[in-house]
């Protein structure tokens, strides 16, 4: 049997554990219900043609963000379970989770929140926004873009499968050896972790190749480097980081797999292995990863600040240089993640100083946003709330980061809840707030109607207040000596703080529920909130030039860029002269065809990954052969483009011109 099924037996299904079993049942039922509902409404063909096989960067971006939101719910469920356990298991009580289960939960929480929430969310925005802001029709490699998304989805699928079949890692979100070695983690948990991240990591590297090429080689005429919106700059920096950091992750996880599968000795305790090597390798990827998430977030804030302050971004060039400085310095600070491992005083000092230096360009950015608001006509919309909330929260998180960058301080508080509070403050206060701001800001561009403001503000306050209640006490607890990842709390005097933190987590949960409510309510009342002009916020960059939602080719004619704020310059000139540009000579447009190759590739990747996790070697080989066959089949096709006829382009463009003319008149009357 083991030849056919490898390590897979009926024991892999958690029949005796109610929590995973109930969760699995609910998830399966929900998936089935949604599938039936979609099928009953006859939406499958639409989904298949417009989303699943789509090579359109906007559709792919939307799929990334949907994936991220779904995974956010899963990751948050883990978070609330941990908070509940920590507020119950105090003193004599043991709470409701066993240590084995609790350890899986915090490992899954970290892994999912970083790899399958933050990453797809950020990459989703890049997909949706960058080609529009650069004034072009699509990314450099549209088909590869689709493949990238499905590989990411495949990784997410495998991680969630570990809930139903087998187990997940109990090693924390970075699986440090020797704990993650076979000797101490004999089960399939760590293998799920490794394989899922390898598959999605390949997708991420392909994404970075795609976007670096797009930003450096595919821009509208006149869009020189210093005319690119800051979000494009930060996306470029972020993708350069991915390109240089993710291969290291691939190697690191690969070496650990060799240790586990073939008894190699990279990180083992015996055979000359060195687990310190793993720390260095994983953090050489891990620290840039933080900036891979943070830089695009800063880009979103830059767009929001300029748009809702009604003036150009203050210090545009300094913003670009700060972005590139962060991009470079972020590769020189990795050792601050393990000051206490004894690299030596001088090395610690160098990395400590480098870590503090990275605060300087970040400070430059903060002042730029503040000065952008200063003297502007600030509109306190939902994204603006997130920007201000971010600056208040992130500066404190940054300062505790500077504290942690001082090696002697780090010796005191390392691995404590102080650290947990710090990184949640910069990731939630920095990245999540930006993602929520971007979600509100670009939603009308994607779907043609705005999200409800009042509910949006309610969501913001839930996140803002909930975050501070849930994590600020952790700084204190860290000083009291509470270490991270505790399944049981020995000191009863910490109880009030832990209960306060649970309350905060519940408020964040209310915010997530309200996000869903906001979405449903906005869809229901979309007739009153239509975005007919394509420019609902009086925007300054090119994505607001097209209609909402844009035609699949984005622009009838590639916009011609003059001045630093491409769309704003155009708009102001048109208002002044009370006319649009003269009608261009429309041409037929060549667009990539949609393709099933991404889904099929990801299917084989998932099958192969599952087989590797369970040691079903024949199936793994079959999966690889299948993937190669799809590859060749795709390469054999000649036509990867279709032509949009010129009449269609002209009709759409004229309609858009008519709408823009009306919009222009209403603007010139208001100014």
């Amino acid at each position: 049997m083991s030849v056919i099924f490898g390590k897979l037996t009926w024991d892999a299904i958690p029949f005796h554990e109610p929590i995973p079993l109930i969760t699995s049942a609910v998830v399966l039922a929900a998936v089935a219900a949604i599938a039936v509902w979609v099928w009953r409404n006859g939406w499958w063909p639409y989904l298949r043609d417009e989303y699943i096989t789509s090579t359109d960067h906007k559709r792919i971006g939307i799929m990334y963000i949907v994936l991220a939101l779904l995974m956010l719910v899963r990751g948050f469920a883990d978070a609330i379970m941990m908070r509940l356990q920590q507020s119950m298991a105090i003193g004599a009580s043991q709470g409701y989770l066993t240590p084995e289960h609790y350890n899986q939960i915090f490992s899954a929480h970290g892994t999912i929140m970083i790899f399958f929430v933050a990453m797809p969310f950020v990459i989703g925005f890049m997909n949706f926004v960058v080609p529009l802001q650069l004034g072009v029709r699509d990314v450099a490699f549209p088909t590869m873009n689709n493949v990238s998304f499905w590989l990411t989805a495949s990784g997410a699928l495998l991680i969630n499968l570990s809930l139903f079949i087998g187990e997940f890692a109990r090693t924390g979100w970075l699986a440090f050896p020797p704990l993650s070695e076979k000797e101490f983690s004999p089960g399939v948990g760590v293998d799920y972790y490794l394989v899922a991240l390898q598959i999605s990591g390949v997708g991420t590297v392909l994404t970075s190749v795609n976007f670096v090429t797009t930003i450096l080689k595919i821009r509208a005429p006149g869009m020189s480097y210093f005319r690119m919106p800051v979000f494009c700059w930060t996306s470029l920096a972020s993708n350069l980081l991915i390109l240089a950091a993710f291969p290291v992750l691939t190697v690191t996880l690969g070496l650990l797999m060799l240790d586990r599968y073939l008894d190699f000795h990279f990180f083992t305790n015996d055979g000359g292995g060195n687990s310190m090597l793993y720390m260095n390798l994983i953090w050489v990827w891990g620290h840039p990863e933080v900036y891979i998430l943070a830089l695009p977030a800063f880009g979103i804030y830059s767009e929001v600040a300029a748009t809702f302050s009604g003036k150009p971004l203050f210090g545009y060039r300094s913003m670009v240089f700060a972005t590139l400085a962060i991009c470079i310095i972020s590769f020189m600070v990795w050792l601050h993640h393990f000051f206490t491992m004894g690299a030596g005083a001088n090395i610690n000092a160098i990395f400590g100083i480098a870590s503090m230096v990275i605060g300087i360009p970040t400070g430059v950015k903060i002042y730029n946003w503040l000065f952008t608001m200063y003297g502007g006509r600030v509109r306190f919309t939902v994204p603006m709330h997130y920007l201000i909330g971010f600056m208040l929260t992130f500066v404190v998180g940054g300062l505790t980061g500077v504290l942690l960058a001082i090696p002697p301080v780090d010796f005191v508080v390392h691995n404590s809840l102080f650290l947990v509070a710090h990184f949640h403050q910069v990731i939630i206060g920095g990245v999540v707030f930006a993602l929520m701001a971007g979600y509100t800001y670009w939603f009308p561009k994607a779907f043609g109607f705005t999200l409800d403001e009042r509910l949006g503000k309610a969501v913001f306050w839930c996140w803002f207040i909930g975050f501070h209640l849930a994590f600020m006490p952790s700084y204190l607890l860290g000083f009291y000596g509470a270490t991270r990842r505790m399944q049981h709390i020995p000191d009863p005097s910490w109880a009030p703080w832990l209960h306060l933190e649970l309350f905060g987590a519940v408020i964040i949960g209310a915010g997530i529920v309200l996000t869903v409510v906001q979405l449903l309510y906005s869809i229901k009342t979309r007739e009153q909130r239509l975005d007919v002009t394509g420019d609902p916020w009086d925007g300054r960059t090119l994505e607001w030039l097209t209609l909402s939602p844009p035609p699949h080719y984005n622009f009838a004619v590639l916009p011609d860029v003059h001045g630093e704020e491409a769309y704003w310059t155009r708009k102001q000139t048109a208002i002044k002269m009370d006319q649009l540009i003269k009608e261009p000579d429309y041409q037929p447009i060549e667009m990539p065809v949609s393709t099933p190759v991404g889904v099929i590739c990801a299917f084989f990747a998932s099958v192969c990954g599952f087989a590797v996790i369970w040691h079903i070697w024949w199936l793994a080989i079959l999966g690889l052969i299948g993937a190669f066959a799809v590859f060749v089949w795709y390469a054999w096709q000649d036509e990867h483009e279709h032509i949009v006829p010129v009449d269609e382009v002209r009709t759409n463009a004229r309609e858009r011109r008519r709408i823009r003319m009306e919009h222009l008149h209403s603007l010139s009357q208001s100014t």
Binding site: R219, L258, G271, T569
Partner: protein, 212 residues
């Protein structure tokens, strides 16, 4: 035409073509190899991590065999010669493809592939010999890192051979279409990059490892 009209006009009169994509999107013949170059760079980063691993574990022999006892310079010299020669023939194949000469292209690609296969065969022999001598990758951290670094390069060569075979079939079936010649260019970039990495392996692993 007033200056304002020029501002919303459609011309960039007098602006220089700087080669930085200011004149609109670049053509596919530039974009595709550029993207592939980026992928090759990420591959270089992957190998640099493996080199770092090897360098930090090279002395962790756990009482087992050391570099001096294992490596055979003559064998590696033949290996290197085969691979460098295959880079040359790969270049000849590209020249033939540029001239749309089907037979020569096929022949040179075949020679490239065969030289790659010779390289792989010798590497396979070396690995088998080491395992037979009681020096498998499971023996020590040094051997783990050696087999992984050199084996990863070998896996890349294997993928390259698969690609060469596929390309030969494709040119045979479809001729020298524009997108197929672009693919051939990417293949040659890949193949030369593997050579560069092999030169580093040859130096860092074998030459330094066999110093007296």
């Amino acid at each position: 035409m007033t200056t304002e009209a020029a501002t919303i006009g459609l011309t960039h009169s007098g602006s220089e073509d700087t080669g930085l994509g200011h004149r609109g999107p670049e053509s596919k013949s530039i974009v595709v190899p550029y993207g592939f170059w980026l992928f090759v760079l990420s591959d270089m980063v992957l190998f640099s991590a493996l080199f770092a691993t090897y360098a930090s574990l090279v002395n962790a022999t756990d009482g087992g065999p050391t570099t001096n006892q294992l490596f055979d310079r003559t064998l590696v010299a033949i290996e290197t010669l085969a691979l460098l020669l295959s880079s040359f023939t790969c270049g000849l194949a590209m020249i033939a493809a540029k001239r749309k000469n089907m037979n020569l292209t096929q022949i040179w690609l075949l020679v490239t592939g065969l030289l790659g296969a010779v390289f792989l065969f010798i590497e396979f022999y070396e690995f088998a010999h080491m395992i037979g001598e009681g020096a498998p990758p499971q023996r020590s951290a040094f051997l783990s890192s050696f087999f992984t670094l050199v084996g990863c390069h070998g896996a890349h060569v294997t993928a390259g051979l698969l690609w060469i075979g596929t390309m030969m079939a494709q040119i045979w079936a479809k001729g020298f279409k524009e997108h197929i010649v672009r693919r051939l260019l990417c293949l040659s970039i890949f193949w030369h990059a593997l050579d560069i990495i092999w030169v580093a392996i040859f130096t860092i692993v074998y030459l330094i490892g066999t110093l007296p």
